[in-house]
């Protein structure tokens, strides 16, 4: 427990004192919602769906940058090699990364929700909020696994660019910025197969109160398994390469 707490503090201090991390990941979704999201849709459920979309976008951003960019940079860090010489380090280190990602995701989501309570045409109600928060935790699983895969695939130098290159188009493709109904048909045909669309569908179902389609559930699970497997393979490859 003492070691886990030390790692949590270590991760938090590293990230909290690094505006390069928390401005684009934690603050940016709420800023983007305030500037654009809040003025996009008409009143009613579409306004609430937009809030849910920006919450998914917030979770995705933290996962991509904290895991994707963070892991890629740690892998090439000589200091990280020293960390591995400390006793009992690997499990607390991984757990602390996951816990800090959850906390930062919750903060990013909460900021979107706070912004929406002031600027949203129709803010979320109590039960919707709870459901949406639970969905955000669920979404963080495949999102984190995508981040981990990126972190073990990309180099420290290429990771930030690759994260942007994947994250922003995926957010757009998933209908997190523009509702699918407003997408050109061709884009929407691709969108329904994208991982971010499944995440979006889950979040929107928290607003509409309807269960997501079977296709969405199956694809969501399939993507989670796929990125989980990919992460395991890439971690094993990295372990062989760096520590074999």
């Amino acid at each position: 427990m003492k070691i886990l707490l030390a790692h949590i503090k270590f991760q938090f201090l590293k990230l909290l004192r690094n505006p390069g991390f928390w401005v684009p990941t934690v603050l940016f979704p709420a800023m983007l919602y305030s500037f654009f999201g809040s003025s996009l849709p008409p009143e009613g459920i579409y306004s609430q769906i937009t809030i849910a979309s920006f919450c998914v976008y917030a979770v995705l951003g933290v996962s991509f940058y904290q895991f994707g960019v963070g892991i890629a940079q740690d892998r090439e860090s000589l200091f990280d090699n020293w960390l591995k010489t400390l006793p009992n380090v690997s499990i607390p280190s991984s757990l602390a990364q996951v816990l800090t990602a959850i906390v930062f995701s919750i903060i990013a989501v909460m900021l979107v929700l706070i912004a929406s309570s002031f600027l949203g045409k129709t803010p979320l109600e109590g039960q919707m909020l709870v459901k949406l928060l639970l969905v955000c935790i669920l979404i963080s699983v495949p999102a984190s696994l995508m981040g981990v895969s990126l972190g073990y695939f990309a180099s420290a130098r290429s990771a930030p660019a690759l994260a942007n290159l994947i994250f922003l188009p995926l957010a757009f493709l998933g209908g997190l910025w523009i509702p699918p109904i407003q997408m050109p048909q061709g884009i929407n045909d691709i969108s329904i197969w994208s991982p971010t669309r499944q995440m979006g569908e889950f979040a929107w179902s928290a607003i509409t109160g309807q269960m997501p389609d079977t296709r969405v559930v199956v694809l969501f699970i399939a993507y989670s398994l796929f990125f989980g497997l990919l992460a395991i393979l890439l971690i094993a490859h990295d372990k062989r390469k760096r520590f074999g």
Partner: protein, 296 residues
């Protein structure tokens, strides 16, 4: 005596490259060993295997009788971190707090701050630290777990001469108190001061090993130096002049001194010391090579 670190016929291959070729070494309690060799000799690979960061292709690596790198073994080992990637957002005290949390019997942070003269920088974020300041933090981190074995890879690189001497004294005292050290360094003076034995490796193989004193006495040469006013032809022909001193390396130091006295040379500040380790090693290796040639 208790063996704290052991490589037993360790071979390490990276594809077709053999980084270590059946390398064996032992470090006992209270022993300080310097691992020497040219760049690419395999020193870093050997240290990585001892730290559990690399696995041997064949052979075994142990620390305190346990598998190298295992969590139980690493309780007793202090390793110097590379300073280039220190998290810039943290302070030395925060880093030390983080490190000590991993050990059952850690050092006191206050003591480490004092011992490594970190007082003025202890609570400043590491961003903007000079190389020397970061190095001091790295050395303090190495002692965070009250280790029984220190693995020091170029420990004083980047430190000024005062800082180097300060750390060398800490390391020497640590060995005197029963600690063990495995050291790599480019500073011969540092090696000689901290280590009692050397293992020289090249192309992953041990080419020379032994106690520093024994190697020096086997070479049998001394460095004689003195200052002299109005040196005679004997002095100018037999000695080299540099930095205000006359000096020569000889296996007959006593005879040279007798001659100086007999010639009534006006010399002072006479010193007779064993020659420096790097020169002794060169001569020792040359002697070994000649003996091998004679045998064959």
């Amino acid at each position: 005596m208790e063996i704290v670190a052991k490589l037993n016929s360790v071979t390490k291959q990276f594809g077709k490259i053999t980084a270590l070729n059946s390398l064996s070494l032992e470090v006992k309690k209270g022993q300080a060993i310097a691992l020497l060799g040219p760049n690419g000799a395999g020193k870093s690979t050997a240290l990585s295997i001892l730290q559990g960061l690399r696995q041997p292709s064949s052979g075994t690596a142990q620390l305190f009788g346990l598998s190298a790198g295992s969590k139980d073994a690493m309780q007793y080992v202090g390793v110097t971190p590379q300073t280039s990637d220190f998290p810039p957002q943290l302070t030395p005290v925060e880093l030390l707090e983080f490190a000590v949390a991993h050990y059952k019997n850690p050092a006191k942070i206050k003591d480490l701050v004092e011992q490594f003269s970190l007082g003025e920088i202890a609570n400043r974020q590491l961003r903007g630290f000079s190389g020397g300041e970061k190095r001091k933090v790295a050395l303090a981190l190495c002692f965070a777990g009250n280790p029984k074995l220190l693995i020091l890879d170029e420990p004083t690189a980047g430190l000024d001469s005062k800082g180097q001497k300060h750390f060398q004294k800490i390391a020497k005292d640590y060995v005197k108190q029963g600690g063990s050290v495995i050291l790599t360094s480019h500073y011969w003076q540092e090696i000689e001061y901290i280590a009692d034995s050397i293992i020289m490796i090249d192309k992953g193989k041990t080419i020379l090993s032994g106690k520093i004193d024994e190697i020096k006495s086997a070479v049998g040469l001394s460095l004689i130096s003195f200052t002299c006013q109005n040196p005679s032809d004997f002095v100018t022909k037999s000695f080299n002049y540099s930095d205000g001193k006359w000096s020569a390396i000889s296996d007959k130091a006593d005879e040279l001194v007798v001659k100086l006295v007999k010639n009534n040379e006006q010399f002072s500040s006479l010193n007779i010391n064993p020659i420096a380790l790097d020169e002794a090693l060169n001569i020792y290796r040359a002697k070994q090579t000649n003996q091998t040639k004679e045998l064959t």
